[in-house]
Symmetry: C2
Subunit: 168 residues, 2 copies
């Protein structure tokens, strides 16, 4: 039985495992606040979306299945991190609001030593290159999936490279 080497495949696997390792480190860091990675990401998203924070929009923003977001929101509501509020105008619309307790937890979670520590091994130029390369991959993947990129985090313009990394 033969296994061929495939550089594109190896590159994907490297991306996947690197993400997995960093994810694990961040999860460990968040354990001290007794909060999951997904809860923290949803808190962040609610703060960004403000009055547009409804379940469907959050799912789109995070590229998650609506039912997963729904489950997460129920758990977060139980813990008193968010409230689901019926919209005054359209009663079918449920807006998600962050509570004081949720906001406190969000603020604590912005201590992101895990990310800072890992990314400290890169030069500024490498970070810019990584940003540029990942942006290209995300754009292509979103097109293939027929997803509107402007509906996702991080926004396209969130990091304008100081120097274009492509030279020709």
């Amino acid at each position: 039985m033969h296994i061929g080497r495939d550089f594109n495949y190896d590159l994907w696997r490297l991306l996947d495992i690197t993400r997995g390792l960093i994810y694990k480190l961040r999860e460990r860091e968040l354990m001290k606040y007794k909060v999951s990675m997904s809860a923290v990401i949803i808190l962040h998203t609610i703060l960004i979306l403000e009055e547009k924070a409804i379940q469907a929009r959050i799912a789109e923003y995070l590229f998650l299945e609506p039912h997963s977001v729904s489950e997460m929101l129920s758990k977060m509501e139980e813990k008193g991190l968010i409230n689901r509020i019926k919209d005054q105008k359209s009663k079918n619309m449920i807006r998600i609001e962050i509570t004081e307790k949720g906001y406190d937890l969000y603020l604590k979670s912005t201590q992101r030593e895990s990310y800072n520590d890992i990314l400290s091994v890169l030069t500024e130029e490498e970070k810019t290159n990584l940003w540029t390369i990942l942006s290209k991959l995300r754009k292509k993947a979103a097109e293939s999936l027929d997803i509107e990129l402007s509906q996702m985090y991080p926004p396209l313009d969130s990091w304008a490279p100081t120097e274009p990394s492509e030279k020709k």
Copy 2:
């Protein structure tokens, strides 16, 4: 309520979402073979590890929880993709072997149009840069988690960049 911007955080989120989008595309591609991403990755791993393919080693190789690997292997055994074989020497040791059906499926899965299509937006130089940058991040993350990097896929030496990407 204030949300600060944090470039390291945004870079992580970009990495995470890009991985998620590519994952989704690959999953869709694999649907035509009625096989999951994890099953294909485990088949590939069994082929690489050969006679060293035991459950604990596979879990380590893929940075997965042993119980997740165990569940996956049970499903794959039911589908006739693998066999669990008691080792001749130490009866407690269960080796995983790929079946003819499993190998056929693996071969089909090496049609990786999804990855090739996405990565076609990068120049060779960008691919090399991405490899170098991710390797640095993986090394740092593995050290922080106290994991032996040589036990993971892809191997360190699997892609020697033709040109060093760092210039000073």
